[in-house]
Point group: C2
Chain length 237, copies 2
């Protein structure tokens, strides 16, 4: 739904597929339907309901021949069951995949404390908190001021949705937010908004903890479910 996040997700699927030639890639139909009402705004009670447009888009993809759906937007996955039933096709599970990647192997999961970086809408739904709670994993969310930094990195004029990346100031504020979560005990950080990996350079030495990008994890699961060959080592965007 975020068109840039969708373009990045599509690229992740391509880069993580073992393909010696174009024809080895999985066939994808992308409905970049940017006019779907903002998911976060709706979940905060401030905007139109995106569900009718989501259902219609999913139905059209199924009609166009899609066997498997994927919705590269953390917030929109709050409506996963609506979308699956409208299309009669399964979604690649976004939240579950992200949570599993954050927890790593089961033995370690009781020592995981996850810092959650996402939109106000994603946090407000409590979907990630619930999924982590099932595994007994503690979730830490940014305080009010830091959460404003996260929203600005996504939505401000010098943030990802308007400018394709985040300005150095927005980026620095995200680093502060991440550090505060780590200081409070987080030992893994989940980038629970598809715009955030575009704001944070993967190789930033100031970034303080192991970080999970759900888009990368879901892209890899999509390749497997579609029956293509997965690169053994993850390739970031």
């Amino acid at each position: 739904m975020g068109p840039l996040a969708t373009a990045v997700f599509y690229r992740l699927v391509v880069l993580n597929t073992v393909a010696r030639r174009d024809q080895d890639h999985i066939p994808l139909i992308v409905d970049s339907h940017a006019q779907i009402p903002d998911r976060t705004a709706f979940l905060l009670g401030e905007g139109d309901d995106p569900r009718p447009a989501l259902r219609e888009a999913a139905y059209r993809l199924a009609e166009a021949g899609a066997d498997l759906l994927v919705m590269p937007c953390n917030t929109a996955n709050a409506f996963a069951s609506d979308v699956e039933s409208a299309a009669g096709r399964p979604l690649v599970p976004w939240l579950e995949t992200a949570v599993a990647a954050a927890c790593g192997d089961r033995k370690a999961s009781d020592t995981v404390r996850c810092g959650l970086l996402g939109t106000d809408g994603t946090l407000r739904t409590g979907l990630y908190r619930a999924a982590f709670a099932e595994r007994g994993v503690e979730v830490l969310e940014p305080d009010k001021r830091d959460q404003a930094s996260v929203m600005d990195a996504i939505y401000a004029d010098d943030g990802v949705k308007a400018s394709g990346s985040a300005s150095p100031e927005r980026r620095d504020a995200l680093v502060v937010t991440a550090r505060n979560l780590v200081e409070r005990g987080a030992n893994v950080l989940l980038l629970a908004c598809t715009e955030l990996p575009l704001a944070i350079p993967a190789d930033d030495p100031a970034w303080p903890a192991r970080t999970v990008d759900p888009a990368l994890e879901v892209a890899r699961l999509t390749i497997l479910r579609a029956g293509a060959r997965l690169r053994p080592i993850p390739v970031p965007a």
Copy 2:
């Protein structure tokens, strides 16, 4: 058709649109139909005819509501008229846009000598040569050995289609190819294959001449034709 090139084209459309929020972007449907037979192989008489699959894909996009089509593959634009008539929808003109960008303003076009970097198939069709000839512009093509370097940068195991970028060796060979064209008189280089901009870093100081990426030019024209707002300064991928 090259899935990575398609992902990059989609990203160029997003990055070159003025949008304060997702909903300002143009709605796009991407049919990433990687199974369409290789265009170059067919044009060289060595592979299946891609036209039936191209016609079907174009028809399906029109059925899905597309008013305007764009085919981010230089070689495939050899079949532009087939695609337009199958879909009953216009294509954003790829070859003409690339040629116009290479020529710059009309007054200068009699001093333009264009070095053409593309697949064997694209060169063999002579489509670019014909379009440049209409403007009286001389075209220089790599010699046999350099043309092999271009093909390797695209098709070898350490080239763009198989690895997402080009190895340093493939990249160096492309620089040599470009320099040889400039030495023979080229003063502008046209990257007439959507994989080539992924092999050449835009900021490589060793790259010898002004270079036109048709994908960027066509992405910008697509934004205008779709009625969205274009960023005044081009944003490369």
